[in-house]
Amino acid sequence: MASTTSDAAMADTKPFDIVATYNELLRSDADLTMPIAAIEALVLLLTHSASSTISETLDLLEKSTAHLKRSIPNPIGLSAGTDLFQRYLITTLQRPGQLGPAGDFKAIRTHLLSNGRLFIRRAKESRDKIAAFGRGFIRDGSTILTNGGSRAVAALLQKAADEEGGPSAVRFRVIYVLSSTSQESKHPNEEPEGMETVRALRAKGVPVSTIPESAVAYSLGKADMVIVGAEGVVENGGIVSRMGTYQIGLLAKAIGKPFYVVAESHKFVRLYPLGQYDLPIEQQVVEFKSEEDLAEERKQQSSVDTNGDTPIKLPLCDSVDFTPPHLISALITDSGVLTPSAVSEELIKIWF
């Protein structure tokens, strides 16, 4: 536990920076999802603050959450975590018995502070649970089309592949859609997202074909189903996911292939987007420019360096889109296989 002690030492010297903590958490553990990193960051925040009353703590959480959301270009995923954390605190305080009004606030606080690792472990375990639920979807001889770098999808596919040679061997093939936007970004040598999963699957003897995004419609005829991950699952059962998922969903619907989403239930987020442009983030995807604008831009870039005051925009390689619920056949979550309409129910359970 050397890291925590050094964290504590740092806290003594300078004030706790939630944004840096969040980013650091995400960087340090590749398996960590955004909501869980947000929860962890809040747990660390509580460790560093000496708040002892309920309202003080809630106030602190609210302020830090707002700050965190402002400073991260795409706060959809993390807001699922911060909301869950806040609701958990409030609901536990209101619930009679157990840790209710009588049961003291300190007990909850201690529980949250001492079990940070436990939450992370549970979050990772939920991927195994999903894999167990989703295992039934992958059948002998099926071909699965997937995209992006979702760890839950990777866990599911690898679980099915692990059983190769065992009593319940599954022989399946994977068509992996590799994103082209990440190659165009600043690091041209960086391999596209998902290559790691592709290698892992190939090592397990699963035949994998990698295709560019432009070949999805062409290749879908050979696939039996589409399985994708999600960054956030919104209230109407739709998903916010890596750019390109929406078009795969549309194509799958048009061709009549089932489209399954694999997501942990802590990614359910209280958001009701009505369309692609209704997400609470700024994306530089569709940008109209004339030659004049380009010249202007070049001039600005040469004259002034980054001001820092402009709102943070999402880089193109991290952009997301919204897949509406009618394109989704089912959501494979750690609380079972849900229809999109069941998502709102889960959310209602924690909010009301």
Binding site: I39, L84, F85, R87, Y88, T91, G97, Q98, L99, G100, A102, G103, A107, I108, T110, H111, L112, S114, N115, R117, L118, F119, R121, R122, A123, S126, G136, F137, R139, S265, H266, F268, S329, A330, D334, S335, G336, V337, L338, T339, P340, S341, A342, E345, E346, L347, K349, I350
Partner: protein, 434 residues
């Protein structure tokens, strides 16, 4: 064979007789063999037989320990389901009985907790909640984690990520870890769980008897004067539904004959010459057919469905079972009708008792389809041809949820996307795959 000693054709009636006279293990064997030989066929007959059998099983099981009851019902249920995996109502009834036992056991335990809470109020600093909260602190993390993993119930809420380990949420779903229920029995039989469960099963049996009438009560909301209704197969649920409406309104029924598996029964239903077979318990024999209520009934071959669909106002279908995603498994030919209705934008209404609603998710549609006797398609008299062709006679069709507009159950009308909710109301999460 015990059933052969009775002078009855094997079926629901003979089984219920046998249940009264024979020891319980013989009855279980009888039902398993009846299911395996498809001598009990209809969804409702299977459900009724299962419910009666489980009632006998529980009344024969002399224990007040709910964990033992669950174990017993699970083992019987597993055997029944293995005997006929495609007859999903069997599993549904077993799950509902398991849910009943769990509910009763939990009620009991809650009452006990309430009692013990009152008792411990005199000692201020040690409420139970506090103990639970401090658990993680007193223990070194590895052992705590191990215990947490084993005792954590399959929570449904999103809070499960952050919550305390709450061992009191469920009974052990596996027979191995029976420690919480041990404590429960230790407090003595304050209430007879078994009697409550038997009462509950009695309610399920009543429900099975009334379900068609309850569904029929919604008929007038859905069938209007001068409508043209298309239906399929000789489903009694649909017939009762139409008959109820026929008492008040005039409409036209187009009846597809569902050749080759059900056409004889369909013809009999239409003409009113239906002989009450053993499975129907003789109730339908007293029922007048639709034509005697002055309803025009047009019998058509299945191939004419698409041609006539443009004139149809509403399609009303019976079903074999309904799945958790809103899809359904129904008599072969249903999907064609539903598809044709979709093309013509004709509303499709499925009438089904809640007991047919299964929490099973259809991972593999093909495995749900049962294949029947090919000689119905091509009789053996055609000896020359039989050698040359491969004849298949699927009995069921899988109809995806998007082809259905409305489900009418004994609880009312529901959209297909709402079915998950009814599933979670009727079955416990821990029983879905046992």
């Amino acid at each position: 064979m015990p059933s052969s000693s009775l002078a009855l054709t094997p079926g629901l009636g003979s089984f219920l007789k046998c249940l009264k006279t024979n020891p319980i293990d013989t009855s279980i064997e009888t039902l398993i063999s009846l299911l395996k030989r498809r001598q009990i066929r209809h969804s409702r007959s299977c459900a009724t037989a299962t419910a009666y059998l489980l009632r006998s099983v529980i009344s024969a099981c002399r224990t007040t320990d709910s964990a033992k009851l669950i174990e017993r019902v699970q083992s019987v249920g597993r055997r029944l389901m293995a005997a006929q995996p495609r007859e999903m109502v069997v599993g549904n009834i077993v799950r509902r009985v398991l849910g009943l036992i769990r509910d009763e056991a939990e009620d009991d335990r809650d009452a006990e907790f309430a009692l013990s809470d009152i008792g411990s109020e005199s000692q201020p600093q040690t409420p139970r909640a506090y103990d639970d909260a401090s658990l993680p602190l007193d223990r070194d993390s590895p052992s705590f984690r191990a215990e947490d993993r084993s005792s954590r119930p399959p929570l449904t809420s999103m809070f499960s990520l952050l919550s305390h380990p709450e061992p009191e949420i469920s009974l052990p779903s596996t027979p191995g870890s029976s420690s919480p229920s041990g404590r429960f029995t230790g407090h003595g039989p304050s209430k007879d769980v078994r009697a409550e469960v038997l009462e509950g099963i009695g309610e399920i049996i009543d429900e099975l008897g009334q379900v068609d009438d309850q569904i029929a009560a919604y008929a007038l909301d859905h069938i209007h004067s001068n409508e043209i209704i298309l239906t399929h197969t000789s489903s009694t649920t649909v017939q009762k539904f139409l008959l109820k409406a026929a008492a008040k309104r005039k409409f036209t029924v187009i009846h597809a004959e569902s050749y080759p598996n059900n056409h004889e029964a369909t013809h009999a239903t239409v003409s009113g010459s239906a002989v009450s077979d053993d499975d129907n318990l003789g109730l339908e024999a007293f029922q007048k057919p639709l034509i005697e209520h002055g309803i025009t009934v047009i019998l058509i071959p299945d191939s004419a469905v698409f041609a006539l669909m443009s004139r149809v106002n509403k399609v009303i279908l019976g079903t074999h079972s309904v799945l958790a995603n809103g899809g359904l498994v129904a008599a072969a030919g249903t999907r064609v009708i539903a598809r044709a209705a979709k093309v013509h934008q004709t509303p499709v209404v499925v009438v089904s008792g809640v007991y047919k609603l299964s929490p099973v998710y259809p991972f593999d549609f093909d495995s749900l389809i049962e294949y029947g006797d090919p000689s119905k398609v091509l009789p053996y008299e055609e000896g020359d041809l039989v050698d040359l062709v491969d004849v298949q006679n699927p009995i069921y069709d899988y109809v995806p949820a998007e082809l259905v507009d409305l489900y009418i159950t004994n609880l009312g009308g529901h959209a297909p996307s709402y079915l998950y909710r009814i599933v979670s109301d009727h079955y416990r999460k821990e029983d879905i795959s046992f």
